[in-house]
Subunit: 106 residues, 2 copies
Amino acid sequence: MTEIVKGASPITLINVFTVAPDKADQLVQLLDEATDKVMKHQPGFVSANIHRSFSGKHVANYAQWRSKEDFEAMQRNPECREHMMAAAGLAEKFEPELYAVASVHD
Amino acid sequence: MTEIVKGASPITLINVFTVAPDKADQLVQLLDEATDKVMKHQPGFVSANIHRSFSGKHVANYAQWRSKEDFEAMQRNPECREHMMAAAGLAEKFEPELYAVASVHD
């Protein structure tokens, strides 16, 4: 179970992939495998939460990392880059952005 | 605290707003107020989690609703529409999409 709490630690990556609907499931599977095999073993990994849109047109990764530095170190890791490029290759577009949680209403 | 768990209930709305960086804080405040005053009192509201990107170029609402029907009823409510249009008016672009949580890795 992933928890969302207010603040800038952990940082949040929201990466929205635009995808041909017949590739949505394949992209979900690729992100699952990359997370299990590689990403979650990197320093500072907190969580990855893979979302599939009901329309099939988008897949989103809502991920948490301990710090921006940990996230950037992951991005420089060749094994991680390989998996990120494979995910990007399945998508028409991907739009990653790093966020702080400004507020939580529940 | 918001929890992310695998499955299609609650459903997840991820709405990414593209915004001029000098309007990011204003949009966060508007979303906070709209959530407190109106959205969270609608049937089926579970959570809204407002994110501000470090770049200032994006604001994202990660929201959970009990069902798609509850979300659609909210969208038809005139008071809710008014707040959604005010948020849209501050943004250059907004891209809402409804998701199921395919997997949680933590």
